[in-house]
C-alpha cells in the first residue's frame, strides 16, 4: 500500500512539474511582457531596457523558469506586474473567498447528491426518478453563466429575496460576505449536485444488480438492511473519485460564476489578470489551481484505498 501511495505521489509531482512548465511556456507566449504592460506607451528604448534589467527579464527563459518555480515552492510568487503588491497576499484573500464558496457548495452538494442519487436509484424509472433525473440533466448541461443569470432573475429581480451581486470587498470578513454569497452557492451546488447525483445513481443501480446483492436477496435479508449493509457501502466508494472529479470541474465553473456574481474570488482575479496582462499573477493562480486539482485527486485515491480493503493489497491499478 505504501508503495502504491508513493507511486501516486510521484506521478502527482511529475504532473505538477509538467503543469508548471506548460503554464510558464504559455504565459511566455503571450504577446508583451510585464514591462510593456507596466510602461504602456513609454515602452521603448532605454526605459524598456532598464525595466527588463530590473525585473531580470533579460535572462534566458530556462533560468527564469527555475527561478520562478523555486520561489513558488517556497510560497513566494513575487510581485504583480503593475505595482509592488505581493502576489501571495493578493492571492491569499481571494483564495480564501473561493474556498468559502467551494466548501459551502460541497457541504450542501455532497449529502444532497448522495441522498437523491440513492432515492432515484432505488425507485428507478418511477415518476420521482424521472422528474429528478430530468431536472439534473437540465442543471448539469446548461452553462453556468446561463443558470446563474436565471437565478438572479428569479430570486433577485422578481422575488427580491437575495442580493444579485456581491459588493463586499475582497478582504471583508466572511460574516459580511454571508447574505451575498448565497446565490453563488446555490448556482454552483446545483450543477455539482446534478453531476454527482448521476454518478451515485448509476453506481447504486450497478451494485443492486451484482451477485452478492442477489444472494442477500435470496437469503431473505430484509430490504432496508440489504440496502444499508450490502448496497450502500459498495456503491458509495466510487463516489469518492466522482467527488474529486467534480471538484476539478468546480475550479473551472467557479471562475464563470464568480464573474457573474462579481464575487471577489480567485477566478475573477484570474480573468482580471489576463485582461491586464498581469503575467506573474496569471502564473501563480494557474499553478495554485493545478496544485488543488492534483491534491484533491491524490486525497481521493488515498481515501478510496483506506476505505476499500481490496485496493490495499493491489499494486497497480488500471487507469
Amino acid at each position: 500500500m505504501i508503495q502504491l501511495l508513493l507511486r501516486r505521489l510521484f506521478l502527482g509531482l511529475i504532473t505538477i512539474g509538467l503543469v508548471s512548465g506548460i503554464i510558464f511556456v504559455s504565459v511566455e507566449a503571450l504577446p508583451g511582457d510585464s514591462c510593456t504592460a507596466f510602461l504602456e506607451r513609454e515602452a521603448e528604448g532605454k526605459r524598456l531596457e532598464n525595466c527588463r534589467n530590473d525585473l531580470g527579464l533579460n535572462r534566458p527563459a530556462a533560468v527564469r523558469y527555475f527561478d520562478w518555480a523555486g520561489r513558488a515552492l517556497q510560497g513566494d510568487f513575487g510581485v504583480s506586474a503593475n505595482g509592488t503588491k505581493s502576489i501571495a497576499d493578493m492571492v491569499g484573500t481571494r483564495l480564501r473567498n473561493s474556498l468559502v464558496l467551494a466548501l459551502a457548495s460541497l457541504i450542501i452538494g455532497i449529502p444532497l447528491a448522495i441522498f437523491l442519487g440513492i432515492v432515484t436509484a432505488l425507485w428507478r424509472d418511477r415518476q420521482l426518478d424521472l422528474w429528478i433525473s430530468t431536472i439534473a440533466i437540465f442543471a448539469m448541461t446548461i452553462p453556468e453563466f446561463v443558470s446563474a443569470t436565471v437565478l438572479i432573475l428569479i430570486f433577485s429581480v422578481w422575488l427580491g429575496w437575495l442580493p444579485g451581486i456581491v459588493i463586499a470587498p475582497a478582504h471583508a470578513p466572511i460574516s459580511q460576505l454571508l447574505p451575498e454569497v448565497i446565490l453563488p452557492i446555490i448556482a454552483i451546488s446545483m450543477v455539482m449536485t446534478a453531476h454527482m447525483l448521476r454518478m451515485v445513481r448509476t453506481s447504486v443501480i450497478e451494485v443492486m444488480a451484482s451477485d452478492y446483492v442477489q444472494m442477500a436477496r435470496l437469503k431473505g435479508v430484509p430490504y432496508w438492511q440489504m440496502v444499508f449493509r450490502h448496497v450502500l457501502p459498495n456503491a458509495l466508494l466510487p463516489a469518492i473519485n466522482v467527488i474529486a472529479l467534480t471538484v476539478a470541474w468546480l475550479l473551472g465553473g467557479v471562475v464563470v460564476i464568480e464573474v457573474v456574481f462579481n464575487y471577489p474570488g480567485l477566478g475573477r482575479l484570474m480573468i482580471d489578470a489576463i485582461s491586464d496582462r498581469d503575467l506573474p499573477v496569471v502564473q501563480a493562480i494557474a499553478l495554485i489551481l493545478a496544485l488543488i486539482y492534483v491534491g484533491v485527486n491524490l486525497s481521493a485515491d488515498l481515501l478510496t484505498m483506506i476505505a476499500n480493503p481490496r485496493l490495499r493489497t493491489l499494486h497497480t491499478r488500471k487507469s
Partner: protein, 298 residues
C-alpha cells in the same frame, strides 16, 4: 435488442444503413426525439435564418431602446434598440459553425492518438499520459482564456484551438476503449499474422472504438459550445456587433430588472441547443449500447 457494437465487430453493413438504424433508434425514444428535433431545428435556423429574419441585426435605434415585446418586435429590443428576435435567431450561427467544425477535428486527432498509444503501450504511452494528465489538471477556462489571448478569438483561430484542446481528453477515452479491444482474439490473431501496426489500427481497432468516439464527439460538441459561449460571455470571444447568445446575455445583465426579455431570449436559445445535444448524445449512447452515465463528468 442486439446492441450495435456487436454489428460493429462484424463491420459488414454499409455506413448509410448503419446511420439510418442509429438515427431510427435515437428517435424511437421520447428524450432522443426531443433532443434530435432540437438539434435539427437549430441547425436549420443557423443555415436558413439569414433569409427570413425580420430586421437587420446591427440596426441601432435610439427611439427603440429596451422596448417590451410587441407585435413589431416579438421579443422586444435591446439596450441599443436592436430587434432581439432577429438577434436570437442569428445568435447561434457563429457558435454552431465553429464547434461543428472543431468537434470532428478534436475527435479525429485525439481518437487516433489514443488508439495508437493504446496499442503501443510502453514508455511512450507513459510519457504521453503524463502530459495529458498535466493538461487535464488545468481548468478548461484558464486554458481557453490563455489560448484566446495568445492566438486571438476570430473563428479561424478558435476552430483549431478548440479542436486541439478538446482532443486531449479524447486521447484518454480512446486509449481506454482500445485497451478493452486489444486483448481480444481477433487483434491477437492480426498481430500473430504479423500485420503492420497501421493495418491493425485501421482494420481491427478503429471500427471497434468508433461507437465510443461518436458518443464522445457528441459530448465534446456540447462542452465546446459551453466553452465558446462562456468566452463570449466573459468578453473574450465573439466581438460585437456579431449576434451571439453569450454576448447578448452578458450585455443584457445590467438591464435585467426592467428588461428581462433581453436576457431571456438568448438564455432559451442557448439552453435549448445544449440540452438538445445532450439528449441526443444520451440516446446515441443507448443506441450504441454504451452506458454514458458511468463516464466521468469531464
Amino acid at each position: 435488442m442486439t446492441s450495435l457494437s456487436d454489428t460493429a465487430v462484424a463491420g459488414q453493413k454499409p455506413l448509410l444503413v448503419r446511420a439510418a438504424v442509429v438515427i431510427g433508434d435515437i428517435v424511437s425514444r421520447p428524450s432522443g426525439l426531443i433532443g434530435f428535433g432540437l438539434v435539427v431545428l437549430h441547425i436549420f435556423l443557423a443555415i436558413a435564418s439569414p433569409f427570413f429574419v425580420p430586421y437587420d441585426y446591427k440596426e441601432v435605434s435610439a427611439q427603440l431602446m429596451l422596448q417590451a415585446p410587441s407585435a413589431e418586435h416579438w421579443f422586444g429590443t435591446d439596450h441599443l434598440g436592436r430587434d432581439i428576435f432577429t438577434r436570437t435567431l442569428l445568435g447561434g450561427r457563429e457558435a454552431l459553425m465553429v464547434t461543428a467544425i472543431a468537434t470532428p477535428i478534436a475527435v479525429t486527432w485525439g481518437g487516433f492518438l489514443g488508439v495508437l498509444f493504446g496499442l503501443l503501450g510502453g514508455r511512450f504511452d507513459d510519457v504521453l499520459m503524463r502530459v495529458v494528465d498535466a493538461f487535464l489538471s488545468l481548468p478548461w477556462i484558464l486554458v481557453m482564456l490563455l489560448a484566446v489571448v495568445i492566438f486571438g478569438s476570430s473563428s479561424q483561430v478558435l476552430i483549431p484551438t478548440l479542436g486541439f484542446f478538446y482532443g486531449i481528453p479524447v486521447i484518454r477515452i480512446a486509449r481506454a476503449a482500445t485497451h478493452d479491444v486489444v486483448a481480444r482474439d481477433f487483434v491477437v490473431a492480426a498481430r500473430a499474422r504479423g500485420q503492420r501496426k497501421m493495418t491493425i489500427i485501421g482494420r481491427e481497432l478503429l471500427p471497434n472504438v468508433l461507437d465510443v468516439l461518436m458518443v464522445e464527439g457528441a459530448m465534446r460538441w456540447s462542452w465546446m459550445l459551453l466553452a465558446f459561449s462562456s468566452l463570449s460571455f466573459l468578453g473574450f470571444g465573439v466581438s460585437p456587433p456579431t449576434p451571439d447568445w453569450g454576448l447578448m446575455i452578458s450585455d443584457s445583465r445590467g438591464f435585467m430588472s426592467f428588461a428581462p426579455w433581453a436576457a431571456l431570449a438568448p438564455v432559451v436559445g442557448l439552453s435549448s441547443l445544449i440540452i438538445g445535444i445532450n439528449l441526443t448524445a444520451d440516446a446515441l449512447a443507448k443506441a450504441m449500447g454504451i452506458d454514458r452515465a458511468q463516464k466521468a463528468p469531464l
